[in-house]
């Protein structure tokens, strides 16, 4: 069991608790012992980076410092945006001693442990797409997805900028496909899997954002996907909750189930439904398909947000 510091981020702490629950349930199966960070805050998404960049750096340094204080060498994330924010701050602190000195001194002045830049930030996706995590995943995914057709949606900030993320080719990523296949599913291919879902501007520029959001959902649907899986709870939120707005705006009703990565793997690993916390309707399709009913697909479920406007 490898001990890693675990940063949930806002979404898994609050509105996407099912991401946290399923991650906690899955972790031991893939060789990870999670040390939950208690005293941390939001990483600021791209927003604090854009509003108060010096504060962004300090907030993220604080998270990194508490991760370092656990003695773990890895900080595990379950959100694309957290991953980029923390890695970007980490690279700045690692590669510039004077900057690290200043930030670390500031941290200590307010009672936070110093940061010596010994931590590596890694997304759960990377932990289970290769190495020991992948071997364990293959062994644990015994229930299999039984041919379920899954569309991988990467989102932006786990791929780009590749200089900072650096795990895989941002134009031809492979990690989600590899995981889907290891779980016995069939990975659907479609061009928008590496594009943006529009989340960052979904409130400030809804129309522009919906123009982005529709692409992955429509393409995945056309390619015959049963569900979309994403490693990012923000992508999850827009892909899932905004389907009703998409319907209102375009008249197209996709009813595409959206899964967190940990839920998808959890299904294949045979975790209890209570641990995965699916919205009921998702459970019906996914659970049904897994237990062998894949052949007789009924009508697609409502998205979990099925909110009338």
């Amino acid at each position: 069991m490898r001990r890693v510091a675990y940063y949930k981020g806002c979404l898994a702490s609050l509105s996407a608790k099912e991401l946290d629950t399923s991650t906690q349930a899955l972790a031991p199966r893939v060789g990870l012992e999670l040390i939950e960070l208690e005293s941390v805050t939001c990483c600021g998404a791209g927003d604090i980076h854009e509003a108060e960049p010096d504060y962004y750096l300090h907030l993220n340094a604080r998270i990194l410092a508490y991760a370092e204080a656990t003695g773990a060498d890895t900080l595990l994330t379950v959100c694309n945006v957290c991953t980029l924010n923390l890695r970007q701050a980490n690279w700045q602190l690692k590669n510039d001693e004077a900057l690290r000195e200043r930030v670390s001194t500031n941290l200590q002045r307010v009672g936070v442990p110093p940061y010596n830049a010994t931590v590596e930030v890694r997304h759960l996706l990377w932990e289970i797409a290769e190495g020991e995590g992948y071997e364990l995943l293959k062994a644990t995914a015994h229930r299999g997805l039984k041919g379920l057709r899954i569309a991988p949606f990467y989102g932006c900030q786990i791929l780009r900028p590749s200089k900072i993320l650096g795990f895989e080719d941002p134009d031809r990523p492979w990690s989600l496909e590899r995981i889907i296949e290891a779980c016995g599913g069939e990975a659907i291919d479609y061009p928008a899997k590496v594009k943006c879902c529009g989340f960052p501007i979904i409130q400030a520029r809804e129309e522009t954002a919906l123009g982005e959001l529709i692409q992955p959902i429509e393409q995945a649907k056309d390619a015959g996907a049963d569900a979309i899986v994403t490693p990012c709870p923000l992508c999850h939120l827009s892909l899932d909750a905004w389907q009703s707005k998409l319907r209102a705006a375009t008249g197209k009703d996709f009813r595409m189930p959206i899964l967190h990565l940990s839920q998808l793997v959890g299904v294949a690993a045979g975790l209890e439904e209570s641990e995965l916390k699916f919205p009921l309707r998702h459970l019906l399709t996914i659970g049904g398909a897994v237990s062998g009913a894949a052949a007789s697909r009924g009508p697609a479920p409502e998205p979990s947000s099925g909110v009338e406007l």
Binding site: E50, L57, N106, R160, G166, E207, T208, V307
Partner: protein, 370 residues
């Protein structure tokens, strides 16, 4: 990318095949044509196109001039990704046997084959007033000195060669063609951040218009594609930070960004229920309420009371006050980290790695068509 070791330049030739999207705007005819060429080992994509044009098909149209990554003429897509043809060596691709698909840049109208109409691009560059407004017109007695430190602030943005590779893949521009876009906004910061320019507040308020900085969806395609390391997305973040520093925060995007700051220093976690009213103003907030209530019913938004407060959140508030005292507000907060980010090495930890061995998806890359 293949792993074959490149030969001593000029010592051998390579054979490669490529497919090019041919397009005639007058007739609307479109065709993917395949060419097989023999080229020197050192050939770039531009060299290969020259060979195609010289030896195989004189009707092929594309732009070029400097052949050395400085004029910005030769932007085009290879396998769906915008590149400078003259910067793209073909040896590895030839060795792998892969046949790349060449197409014109995106987000710009195609004129013929690989030539796009750059006028929308130039229109947006012009819209950001790409000239210095130093606030004087008399000739000075002595030269006016600008320190290296001052110039460092706009060093990256000044590297732009206006090739359009960033614009080609901009996800927001696909959805809102009027978006000023990465190149023009990077140019905008090049002047906002220039110590000699006297019009930063006016410039910032222009860039805060409807199709300005807050239209950016942070897809980071621009940073990924830029062949000169401009990192336009970072330039946009600098403009956002400068705007907020100047109190230009009327846009919903700015309010949204500021709300994250408030959340981080009060409860520590994003207060999502309050985000909608904070960013959209009260009228649209009421319209959103049904939607938000729907989300809440499904556990997508935590109930408003009691607020979820992070442990030791006092620290993050104290940190905020401390940082504000140190006065690295605005773009400086991003500029200060650039030196370090520029030093990221492409080791296993950072930098693009190979495909998984058993998984070489025969994937048609994103937007491979013109």
């Amino acid at each position: 990318m293949a792993h074959a070791i490149a030969p001593v330049p000029g010592s051998t030739t390579m054979e490669l095949a490529l497919k090019i999207w041919r397009y005639n705007a007058e007739t609307g005819a479109k065709e993917l044509r395949r060419y097989e060429v023999e080229a020197p080992d050192w050939a770039t994509l531009l060299d290969v196109l020259d060979i195609v044009k010289d030896k195989h098909d004189g009707t092929l149209a594309y732009r070029k001039s400097c052949r050395m990554m400085i004029c910005g003429s030769c932007g085009m897509r290879m396998d769906g990704a915008a590149v400078l043809a003259c910067k793209t060596r073909m040896w590895d691709i030839a060795q792998s046997g892969h046949e790349p698909v060449i197409s014109p840049m995106g987000n710009l109208p195609v004129v013929k084959d690989l030539v796009v109409d750059m006028s929308p691009f130039w229109g947006k560059i012009r819209a950001v007033k790409p000239w210095l407004e130093p606030g004087y017109d008399e000739v000075a007695e002595k030269e006016r000195i600008v320190s290296q430190q001052q110039m460092n602030v706009i060093h990256k943005e000044a590297l732009c060669i206006m090739c359009g590779c960033c614009v080609s893949e901009c996800n927001s521009m696909e959805s809102d063609p009027e978006f000023l876009g990465p190149a023009a906004l990077a140019k905008g910061f090049r002047f906002v951040g220039d110590a000699r320019d006297q019009t930063a507040p006016e410039r910032l308020s222009d860039l805060n218009s409807e199709h300005g900085i807050w239209d950016c969806t942070r897809c980071y395609f621009c940073n990924e594609r830029c062949p000169k390391g401009v990192d336009p997305r970072d330039a946009i973040a600098k403009l956002g930070a400068e705007s907020i520093k100047e109190g230009i925060d009327h846009d919903m995007g700015a309010k949204h960004a500021k709300w994250f700051v408030t959340s981080a220093k009060t409860t520590g976690w994003l207060r999502e229920t309050e985000l909608v009213p904070k960013t959209q103003g009260i009228v649209s907030a009421i319209k959103q309420t049904k939607f938000a209530l729907g989300l809440a019913k499904r556990g997508k938004v935590p109930p408003p009371v009691p607020p979820h407060v992070a442990d030791r959140v006092k620290e993050s508030r104290a940190l905020y006050n401390l940082v504000k005292e140190q006065g690295r507000d605005g773009a400086l907060g991003i500029v200060q980290g650039e030196h370090a980010l520029g030093r990221i090495e492409f080791t296993e930890e950072a930098g693009v790695r190979e495909l998984a061995p058993e998984l070489q998806p025969g994937v048609e890359p994103p937007h491979a068509e013109g």
